[in-house]
Structure formats: C-alpha cells, structure tokens
Amino acid sequence: MTTTEQIIDKVLIPILEKVSDPEIPVLSIMDMGVVRSAVIINDIVKVKITPTYSGCPAMDVIGDDIKKALKDAGYESKIDLILHPAWTTDWITPRGRKALEDYGIAAPLDAQADKEVLLNGKRIVKCTNCGSQNTRLVSQFGSTACKAQFQCDDCQEPFDYFKCLK
C-alpha cells in the first residue's frame, strides 16, 4: 500500500461522493481515490485531484463536475490537478472495487498477480458475469487506457479488467 495523506473536510464528503467518474458512472470519485484533498479556506473549497492516467480525458470533466456539485451546495471552489504522489489502484476503496465488479469491470489484482495475468496468460481474473476464473486476456488495452480486455471461456462473456497501476 502506498502511504499518502488524504485530507478531506468532513462536511464535503457527502457532496464529493455524489460526483462520479464519467466513464464509470457507478463509481464515485471518492471511491476512485482521485480526490487527494478538499479543504475550506476563507469560504473557498480548495480541491486537489490526481489523474488516474495522464491522458485520462475524464479529468477535465471531473474537475467541472466537482465545481458544479460544490456550487449547488453553496461553495465556491478552486480545483488543482496534482501529479505527485501518482495515483495507484490501491487507492480504490473496497466499496469502489465492489461497484466496479457489479458494473461488469473486474477489479485490479495485486501487482504480482496482475503481471502473471497480463504477461504470462495466467487464468485467475474472475469473470464478472459467471465468476469463473477460466478467463483469458484478449488485449492489454480495453475500452479505456486503464483497462484490459478479457473473455470468459466458460460463459463466453467479454469483459474489462481494471489494470493494476502501482
């Protein structure tokens, strides 16, 4: 686990939890771990977010959505994009992992298992449809840069796997 401090003002948590990742609508940005800090200074909310992937096109939208959610709650805000420390899939919360699975995206394995799956073709990623581990990698890049494409050889369902990023 990468240790890093996350400072979020308690009153802001319910507001920020309502903002979701535009590409994975079931996942709140809080469960995604992209909000690194949110504090109220002189009536302005200062929010620091970090991108999952450098080219993630969702980041601009996430910034706008946070601004809007805070405004609806009566706060002016300033959003800063920070790169350090770099985002890791370890920051996805247990609730976030469950939301991913329910949505049909297999949650990231630990780094070692991830390597086995993506490099050595090990069959351990659980099919999000039937739960079988008889699954194979179709492509290291799926519908977005953060995911790889898999297929289940039991129920034949194609599905995305969220790649481990550490």
């Binding site: 450098s54 080219g55 790169l83 770099a86 890049f141 840069a145």
Partner: protein, 251 residues
C-alpha cells in the same frame, strides 16, 4: 527567458511523445484488428496526456502569454526537437510496432532516470509516466516477438521494419546543449549512459523474436537540432491544421 535551458529540455522530452502520439493516433480506425486499433490509440492517448503535463510546465516556465496549446500547435518544423525515429511513417503494422518498440525501450530507461531529477515537477511527471510506458513496452515487445517468431511473411516484414528503423536509434543517445546544461544541474538525464543497456535489451528481445540484429553502423541524426526527415512536415500539417485554419479555436 530566465530558464531557457530547462524550457528547451522539457520540449525535447515532450516532442518525442507528441510526435509519436500523433503517429499512433493515425492508426485510429486503421489498426489490423479492433483490439490492436484500440491499443494503439490508447498508447497515443497516454502519450498526449504526458505531453500536456510537460507543456503545461514549460508554459509556466516561459512565464509569458503562451499556453500548452501554443507550444504543441504553433511552432515551425525546425522548432520541434523530437528524434527522427518517432516521426517515421506507418508504412505497415510491423513498422508501427518496430518504431514503438525501439522508442519504448529507450523511454522506459529514460523515465527511470528522470524520476531521480532534482526538479520536483519533472520527477513527478516521470513517476506518473513510467507506469503507463511500462504497459506500452509490454505491448510493443510482445508484438515484435509475435511477428518475428510468426509466419515467414510476418517475420520478413518485422525484420524489414527493424532494419529500416535501426539507423534512427543512435540519435536517442546524443546530447543537446540543453541536455548538457541540465545534466550539470542534476535535473536532466545523461542519455549517453543509457546506450549500452538499451542495445542489450533490444538485442536480447530481437534474438528472442528470432530476428537478426542489424549490423549497420551508420546512423542518421538531426532531429534533436530541428533537422528533420521529410515526413515531419506532412505530420505537422495534419497536427496543426485546425489551429492554423481557425486560429485560437478551442474544442
């Protein structure tokens, strides 16, 4: 500009990713299969994302009116300092993969060193990028192996691509004036030191892919000084079209 060496140094790094990203992006809708098409454009997207981080930082250092978009879109050909390798065209899929592979191996080693930069922003960007680039390198080296150790036709095409691109590899390890100045300040990476490991890694992989290691000792150079192959002009006319036709337009 107070920090001209740092500015030029950042552009030198970012231009490689920008031009390679544009080349990979050209494959959008033209990849050999849907999955590969998506992989190539995802790599392109990663590279563009990285470029944005670099150019945003460069614009801050310049400290004038210019933005990341101006730096990306409004320079002339001679002002781009990418290596010749990344501007080479998509002749066929083997060329695209060969170019990607020959750059990825370098890119990964370069970022590993840049993480140690005394410049906090550059080190943070490198730390972010290296995770993405390690996926690129897996993808491209897998394909070099698959094509090299594949059918007689795929092997021939992969070999042809490696032979054709080989002449552009040595330039990766040339130092510019900005490089030297930044190395002296512990900000930049001494690329000359990456060369031996690079060729070892590349040669090992080529061997594994049952391909011949090219013997040619004659290498092209010039990109880092803004002297490019004919291909860059055409690439830029595509890349810059919207900004040149509709100045200051925003998406």
């Amino acid at each position: 500009m107070k920090n001209e060496n740092l500015y030029n140094y950042i552009l030198g790094i970012a231009d490689n990713s920008l031009i390679l990203g544009q080349r990979m992006g050209e494959l959008c809708g033209h990849g050999p299969s849907l999955e590969t098409d998506i992989a190539c454009t995802n790599i392109s997207l990663d590279l563009f994302g990285q470029v944005r981080s670099y150019f945003q930082y460069a614009a801050k250092i310049a400290g004038d009116e210019r933005t990341e978009d101006d730096i990306a879109m409004l320079r002339k050909e001679r002002d781009y300092n990418n290596v010749l390798l990344v501007e080479q065209p998509n002749i066929n899929f083997a060329y695209s993969i060969g170019r990607q592979f020959l750059f990825d191996v370098y890119h990964l080693a370069f970022l590993a060193e840049l993480q140690k930069s005394s410049d906090f922003t550059l080190s943070a960007i490198a730390n972010k990028c290296i995770k993405e680039v390690s996926y690129h390198e897996r993808f491209s080296s897998d394909w070099v192996k698959r094509l090299g150790d594949g059918t007689s036709e795929s092997k021939e095409k992969m070999q042809e691509a490696i032979n054709g691109l080989w002449t552009y590899t040595d330039e990766l390890f040339h130092q510019t004036e900005a490089d030297k100045a930044m190395v002296a300040e512990n900000i930049g990476v001494d690329v000359t030191k990456l060369k031996d490991d690079y060729y070892k890694r590349v040669n090992d992989l080529l061997e594994e892919a049952t391909l011949e290691i090219p013997e040619s000792k004659w290498f092209q150079k010039g990109g880092k000084e803004g002297i490019h192959t004919e291909h860059l002009g055409y690439l830029l006319s595509d890349l810059q079209y919207m900004q040149r036709t509709y100045p200051n337009m925003e998406w």
